[in-house]
Symmetry: C2
Subunit: 336 residues, 2 copies
């Protein structure tokens, strides 16, 4: 693993995006979103994902010049068409718009159809929290998860993000509805490790901790069995209905062709509920909840961490020591 | 198990509530919410829960005359004080208000502090769906779930409800963040059955399907292990911050004293996004998604059901044959 400075990482991405024809400001935002994701330790969806992003541009699934267009609106909720623009730029734009709506109406919601993979969903949670508002967003995706009671993938793992701003460190949950992503299963298999808990079924329909057996059967497990199966379905229903966009069953079940997904971005500006000291009070409430969550261990081996804690630690470390990049990906980037 | 007609069940509840001093309209709503819950097959939170509801009134934890009062508002979001009124009436009132806000603003949100157990959370999802809008609501509760990595309960199992209206049958997810409730664990134990999947840790810290071992250790499992643990924390943060009410750590860890919980009710009136045929289009989208979810079984033994399906079947059956009631509870009700 190579380490390069954040600035070098950003500059390399920016250069490639400008060469591809991205407009200057969009190139900077897109490079920043990729670089931040790697810097925050979500290595699967940062720089390492960039080659697939490029190939989707080359195959015409992503239109680098397209921006979301307003379709209709009703007070605090708006429906936008993503016009198959770059997924991270579309998502960033949508959360910005949801935040602006929440400043005006308390709540703001943007439902986005015809967009592309947003890369790291957590990015848009951090974006909302940095703006001092609560952010909730989710995306549907291709069928990659069997519903509870079925053996073929009909659900997407539909990642859900919830972010609460806090001066001492935002609390940001970023989770898919499958217990392990296929990327995580591959990592465990390549390290020769079993999963820490059951992650799916083998081809004989038995629950297993063997990552390779799950890759083979294509039967990953929804979180909480029937519960995550239900939650993934609801997120798909909400995304498709609110955006009037594609549902999971309408998205090609081929990762290289995943496009035209539907997403929802919700922002809540709670500060106006308590104009004199809303933000301060909210941060005190959050601090106390996190403090009680992190109580000293009850017994040996315990370790509790709030969602977002590890991101902050990794970010500090990577800003100090350089962000880790795959040498092959880094070389490819230099040559473009 | 005794079966009584829905009307007899409702009348018996109404009589007791009126005797207790409930104002007539509130008594009718409260009786209906309890009777509907039993009729829909959620037996733990309907009639069988009524004796505990009574004892909480007698001990002063529930004020039968109290209604929610508006604390502050900002456009489409409002903060209310539940004044420790009856939890189901407070929740019904809050969802009604969220629906009204959504008619005006597209989105509507009511954050409710100082309320009581809402009994069946799904009731307020059905309420929103019956009004033709999307309903999302959740509650925090007493500490009854260890966070992932800890052995002592610091999280609530914080039920989450998501409802999507559909003429062919609303899709209503109603799920707590623990894999099994303590009520479910007791049922399995009394039937002498093991859980279908691991439901918690035994006192030695091993994952187990033995319901009694989990009751003993008090270490139920969050859905999806670390994922449900994170989601339960976020729901508590959102409920406490938005309502300025109590967080889980501030609620007594004794079921008989659970009071002053915090809740959030969100309604989305999507019809205005597509005024000419919004509701029709949404129901077609939902129908198609549910159709693909329910595809014919791939292999023997498969059985997929959307959230809310079983409720509708049970409701039909119980309306036709009478609702099942525990003879002891029914007798107690007659004597009051």
């Amino acid at each position: 693993m190579l380490r390069v400075s954040y600035q070098d990482c950003f500059d390399a991405l920016l250069k490639v995006l400008l060469k591809l024809g991205f407009e200057a400001e969009r190139a900077r935002r897109c490079a920043q979103l990729f670089a931040d994701t790697t810097c925050d330790g979500v290595y699967t969806h940062g720089l390492n994902r960039f080659p697939r992003f490029l190939s989707m541009i080359q195959s015409g699934l992503i239109d680098i010049h397209a921006s979301p267009a307003l379709v209709s609106s009703s007070g605090s909720i708006e429906r936008w068409n993503g016009n198959i623009g770059p997924g991270n730029l579309n998502a960033y734009h949508s959360m910005e718009r949801a935040i602006a709506l929440s400043r005006e109406h308390g709540l703001g919601c943007v439902a986005l159809a015809n967009t592309n993979h947003w890369m790291r969903g957590g990015s848009y949670g951090w974006q909302a929290a940095n703006a001092g508002v609560i952010g909730i967003c989710w995306t549907n995706t291709l069928p990659n998860l069997p519903p509870w009671g079925a053996s073929d993938p009909r659900l997407g793992n539909n990642p859900l993000v919830i972010a609460v701003p806090r001066p001492q460190g935002h609390v940001v949950l970023d989770m898919a509805m499958s217990q392990f992503s296929y990327g995580a299963l591959a990592s465990y298999r390549m390290r020769g490790e079993m999963l820490p808990v059951e992650g799916g079924f083998d081809s004989a329909g038995r629950l297993t901790r063997d990552p390779g057996a799950i890759e083979e059967s294509n039967r990953a497990l929804p979180i909480g069995f029937w519960k995550g199966s239900g939650l993934a379905l609801m997120l798909d229903l909400l995304a498709a209905i609110l955006s009037d966009g594609r549902a999971t069953y309408q998205i090609p079940p081929i990762p290289e062709r995943e496009s035209m997904v539907s997403q929802v971005f919700l922002a809540i500006d709670f500060s106006a509920l308590d104009p004199s000291h809303g933000a301060l009070k909210a941060s005190q409430i959050a601090d106390q909840i996190i403090e009680h969550f992190h109580l000293p261990p009850h017994s040996q081996g315990e370790r509790v961490r709030y969602p977002g804690y590890r991101v902050l630690k990794t970010r500090q470390e990577n800003l100090a020591n350089g962000v880790p990049v795959e040498p092959a990906v880094w070389q490819q980037l230099q040559k473009l």
